[in-house]
């Protein structure tokens, strides 16, 4: 029983994947509405099952481990999965390959679980790859669009490249330590040329997945080319899960190189915040805009990571949760607008408030959350990241973070201005609203308002981080 409880996330997911296969054999997916609703219900059950009583421990000589924090991280991922599935309802209804979409998405999530639970670098690597490769196929989903194929091929090639670099780093690490299980790496890691090289290469591999500058160049193209649902998945699930793992990698795996990684992380953090915000200034495509915005957001996460303590990991997990809700809400609105106007340009948001106050308000809340305007949750998220950053005493980094806060405010306000103040010559008709999207948006809205004010949420995360 214990083992079932420990593996319950993976078991349920595998069962879901199997169920999809069976559905396709029985031709069940031809009834579009029924299929999509079934999937949503299944994902909801999956999310609820995540809250079953947990059981901690490790299996297979530490290849697989789990604890309260890991379970929480998987639950956050599950929430994101459910919300993305709900927001992409309209698009999936049109798409021919909805079954494959779910199949690939769930496979990717399976990789994420493996990665989160890994206690050995090889498992970590396997999980990371397993979670990336299906996304490359997913971003190629708009088969008729050249940009979509371009996004797919770009993602797979550059991801292969980064994987190569990372594997090289892992092999160096193996050379230095002689074993790849977390425990022995932690015990035997000392700063020397070899391990520093290994660290730089492994860092680059992770930085690629989180699109940290200067390893971010693929991001905007891939975000722009992929279908909105996939972009959403990339920016939220794939990024969030790698951030979670990155915490373990830095705090325990490379704990012995703390001095070195503090410097490295500070530099890429400053670069990411600044470059992300500056490039977002002039973007006209909504997805490109959010691509650069997410680069800047990850830069902020890194500020919190530098704390290297409980408050560091607690603030990061808390922020990722908020970031997930903000981004899903923003992408949800973008998909609604893009579905009816056929354009992803920010210009098509002009006058949105007049024609669709509901969407405009949700979008405004999401953007204000990303900008960190009180009293929306994003403000508290940023506040804790900065407070955590204070711990490390890197005042230059904090100074950059401060300036970037203002810069990002300008970026997000620009879009808000489009929606609320500018007029649209081509008057926007009221957009279609389907129940699924509306539900997801309401969940995000409630979350974005409540998470900042409901103290137990942070306290719960904080308590899980003190193990």
């Amino acid at each position: 029983m214990d083992i079932v409880l420990m593996f319950r996330f993976e078991i349920i997911l595998a069962a879901l994947i199997l169920a999809i296969f069976i559905m396709s054999l029985r031709g069940f997916d031809t009834n579009v509405k029924c299929f999509l609703n079934t999937m949503n219900v299944l994902l909801l059950l999956n999310f609820i099952a995540g809250w079953l009583p947990l059981s901690e421990g490790s299996y297979f000589s530490d290849f697989f481990r789990t604890n309260g924090l890991i379970v929480l991280q998987k639950n956050i991922i599950n929430l994101g999965l459910l919300l993305i599935s709900l927001t992409s309802y309209a698009w999936l209804e049109q798409s021919k390959y909805r079954l494959e979409f779910y199949l690939l998405m769930l496979s990717s999530i399976f990789g994420v679980y493996v990665m989160l639970s890994s206690g050995h670098i090889l498992m970590l690597y396997l999980g990371l790859e397993m979670s990336t490769i299906p996304i490359a196929a997913m971003s190629n989903f708009n088969l008729k669009e050249q940009r979509s194929s371009e996004a797919g091929i770009k993602l797979i090639l550059s991801s292969a490249f980064s994987t190569g670099i990372m594997l090289f780093g892992i092999s160096l690490l193996y050379g230095a330590v002689g074993n790849l299980s977390f425990a022995s790496v932690i015990a035997n890691l000392h700063p020397n040329v070899l391990t520093l090289f290994a660290f730089a290469f492994i860092l680059a591999g992770f930085a690629f997945k989180m699109s940290i500058v200067p390893f971010h160049l693929w991001t905007a193209d891939v975000y722009e080319g992929s279908p909105i649902a996939v972009t959403n998945f990339l920016s939220v699930i794939s990024k969030g899960s790698v951030i979670f793992v990155f915490l373990t990698v830095l705090y325990s795996l490379f704990g012995g190189l703390k001095e070195a990684w503090l410097l490295g992380i500070s530099i890429v953090s400053i670069l990411s915040m600044t470059v992300g915000n500056l490039f977002a200034l002039r973007q006209q495509n909504a997805k490109r805009f959010l691509a650069f915005s997410s680069i800047a957001q990850v830069g902020f996460v890194l500020v919190g990571i530098t704390a290297a303590s409980t408050i560091g990991s607690a603030s990061v997990v808390y922020f990722v949760l908020i970031y997930l809700l903000s981004n899903i809400a923003a992408f949800g609105v973008i998909s609604a607008v893009a579905d009816s106007t056929g354009s992803e340009s920010l210009q098509s948001f002009k006058g949105l408030y007049k024609s669709n106050p509901f969407y405009a308000l949700i979008m405004a809340v999401a953007l204000f959350s990303l900008a960190g305007v009180p009293p929306i949750a994003g403000f508290f998220g940023k506040l804790f990241l900065l407070t955590a950053g204070m711990k490390s005493g890197l005042y230059v980094l904090l100074g950059f973070a401060g300036v970037n806060l203002v810069l990002s405010l300008y970026n997000y306000l620009r879009v808000v201005k489009y929606m609320f103040i500018d007029d649209n010559e081509a008057h926007l008709a009221p957009l279609n609203r389907n129940r699924q999207l509306t539900t997801a948006l309401y969940i995000c809205l409630i979350g974005l308002i409540a998470i900042g004010f409901v103290t137990p949420i942070y306290q719960y995360i904080d308590s899980l981080c003190r193990f």
């Binding site: 700063p191 200067p214 160049l217 722009e224 001095e259 070195a260 904090l398």
Partner: protein
């Protein structure tokens, strides 16, 4: 909870309730009803505030002859870590009780006045909802027990100010002004937030009184730690306090963050009276006053900087006010100048009975200023209501058609000019005397400024009510606007008499009663300057003539510089538009277009023909450049780490 504490709680809650009711059901209520709801709730809070103030100053607040702080209510709201818990509560001490009085009285006057002024406006009920929201947030700000509570209400105040400035949202200039105010003050608030983080990190507390205690007691380890590190000759504590002050300077429109306030006059005039004259803009002064013990005891260097910024701003804004032709802008710059007066009043004060005269003077001026400046704005509103213009050239000779406005406006002008017997005289005297004793240079700046103040105020007065001959068939414009007249009269009484309050026995830095020294010989100079200012204004503007134009053209350069507000806005525009956009934004965009976007994303839109040609270089070329970046990044990073740590 006794009746005073309950009243204090009600003072905060009533406006919030009124906001909720008007916000949710406003569109179903008639204008009349929603206006009455707003007025009723605010008048009630004003009565409650008077009750609480009487109780505090004469009864429960007075412990052994000293006004002690009294925590009426406190509970934990958010607890994040041991160090980061945020309390909400209500503190009653001399300055917060005084602010409660000021805010509720001015706000209720403005609520009543607006019944007449905003009559027939679209979104009338929304206007009242915003006003209530503003009153709620401002009240929450002044009774804050916790610096973070203050910050939250501080932001709420900013939001409601944003909403009210942009109330005429069909006017592009109103929207631009609202945005400008929001962005400038948000920028300043960033400093405030960082300051809060530094203070809380070093004192392990967010509670005002814990912070003050830990940073003022000699031998406190927190204080020693905080002052141990220094940067550019000032301790970390001074920097933190200056960052906090930066937030205050944004809200209180100190140079160089003053640029939003004149533009904020785009909002409805009663709003200007409430927010941009009497209450919100003094939040910065209040913030410094709240942390005054820390400033005075542990960081006198930061306080000195505040004094200089205040003195400079006072003079600077007064110079600009002399040449403006939009009457609301004259008042706006006058507000900046007067707030700067309060700021340097705090700046020249020190700790201890006699030395803290500047503190009491500054609070006194805050109190009297609220009356006469609100009155001036409301009077200006009545004028604008009558002539439908903000420009001086459309006015003149209005004394017969607006008799009540005329008399009350005159009283306010006399008060602000510092004519003996009226309120402004007493408070200004206290500030100047404090400056004279500690920083004579600042005293002379203040003295000269008070002459300028008298000049530009009477320029305004004569230009509106005299200058042109009274039109022959002038009829009374005021008969039907009693909602507007009553607040004018009440405020005029306040502006005339508020100075006679023995303010020193109620409000002082340490709670002990103090006598504000009054020397007949000392007040000769300020009064003389004031009278000279009034005299010059009389000569130039009492009757229509061409002397002012001649003078303006003879000192053309200075006149123009002042008229154009010393080009500060242009400098900001230059920095943001030209420097930031061109030097940073443009290259970034160019990089994005050419390197990242390549030629081919843009091409692909029209490129069904050139597809094959486009794909080839895209796949080989661009991915190559990506990987180049990637590899370069890795190697640089590795090299850096190895150089640094090996």
């Amino acid at each position: 909870m006794n009746s005073y504490e309950l009243s204090a709680l009600l003072i905060v809650i009533l406006p919030a309730l009124s906001f909720i009711v008007l916000g949710l059901f406003g569109n179903r209520l008639s204008n009349r009803v929603s206006g009455l709801i707003g007025c009723a709730s605010l008048v009630t809070t004003a009565i409650l505030a008077i009750y609480v103030a009487a109780g505090y100053f004469f009864d429960f607040g007075l412990v052994g002859g000293v006004h002690e702080k009294h925590i009426a209510l406190q509970f934990q709201w958010l607890k994040f870590t041991e160090n980061l818990s945020i309390d909400l509560g209500i503190v009653l001490d001399p300055i917060s009780v005084m602010m409660l009085l000021v805010i509720t009285i001015v706000s209720s006057m403005v609520h009543i006045y607006s019944l007449g002024y905003m009559k027939g406006e679209e979104y009338f009920e929304r206007y009242y909802a915003y006003l209530s929201l503003f009153s709620f947030s401002m009240l929450g700000l002044v009774i804050a027990v916790n610096i973070f509570q203050m910050y939250i209400f501080w932001e709420l105040v900013g939001v409601s100010s944003f909403l009210l400035i942009g109330f005429f949202f069909t006017k592009p200039s109103a929207i631009a002004a609202a945005k400008k105010a929001f962005i400038v003050t948000r920028f300043a608030d960033l400093g405030f937030l960082i300051g809060i983080l530094m203070l809380s990190y070093n004192t392990k507390s967010l509670d005002f009184f814990t912070i003050i205690e830990r940073l003022t007691q000699a031998g406190s380890p927190y204080l020693a730690n905080f002052t141990a590190t220094s940067f550019m000759g000032m301790s970390a504590l001074s920097w933190a306090l200056l960052l906090v002050f930066m937030g205050g300077a944004g809200k209180s429109a100190m140079f160089p963050l003053h640029i939003w306030l004149p533009d904020a006059m785009e909002g409805p005039t009663p709003v200007s009276a409430l927010i941009h004259a009497a209450t919100m803009v003094v939040a910065g002064v209040f913030l410094v006053a709240r942390l005054f013990p820390v400033f005075a005891i542990s960081a006198p260097d930061a306080l000195l900087i505040i004094a200089y910024i205040g003195a400079f701003t006072a003079l600077f804004a007064a110079l600009i006010a002399c040449t403006q032709t939009d009457i609301k802008r004259v008042l706006a710059y006058s507000t900046i100048s007067q707030i700067a007066y309060m700021m340097f009043g705090l700046g020249v004060a020190g700790w201890g009975a006699e030395n803290s005269e500047g503190f009491t003077g500054s609070m006194f001026h805050l109190f009297t200023h609220a009356f006469f400046k609100a009155l001036l704005f409301l009077g200006a509103g009545a004028v604008i209501h009558a002539v439908h213009s903000n420009e001086m050239k459309d006015m003149g000779g209005l004394r017969k058609s607006l008799p009540i406005t005329h008399i009350t406006f005159l009283i306010a002008c006399l008060a602000i000019a510092g004519v003996p017997g009226l309120s402004g005289f007493f408070s200004k005297e206290a500030i100047l005397a404090a400056a004279f004793h500690s920083h004579p240079a600042i005293f002379y700046v203040g003295l000269f400024t008070s002459g300028l103040t008298a000049y530009y105020m009477f320029r305004l007065y004569f230009r509106i009510f005299w200058y042109n001959p009274v039109p022959e068939h002038s009829h009374n414009h005021e008969g039907h606007t009693w909602a507007m007249n009553i607040p004018l009269i009440i405020l005029a009484v306040g502006a005339a008499l508020a100075g006679w309050i023995p303010f020193g026995s109620f409000v002082s830095a340490d709670g002990k009663a103090m006598e504000l020294p009054f020397h007949l010989t000392f007040s000769i100079a300020p009064v003389a300057f004031g009278l000279i200012g009034i005299g010059i204004a009389y000569l130039l503007y009492a009757k229509k003539n061409d002397v002012p134009d001649k003078i303006a053209s003879s000192i053309n350069a200075l006149y123009k510089a002042s008229y154009n507000k010393f080009y500060i806005d242009e400098i900001y525009l230059f920095i943001t538009k030209k420097v930031l956009f061109n030097l940073v934004g443009r290259p970034a965009a160019w990089f994005d277009r050419t390197v990242v976007n390549g030629l081919f994303i843009n091409g692909s839109a029209e490129a069904t023909v050139a597809t094959s040609r486009a794909i080839k270089p895209m796949q080989s070329g661009r991915l190559q450049s990506y990987t180049m970046f990637f590899l370069g990044g890795v190697l640089l990073l590795a090299a850096l780490l190895i150089l640094k740590f090996m």
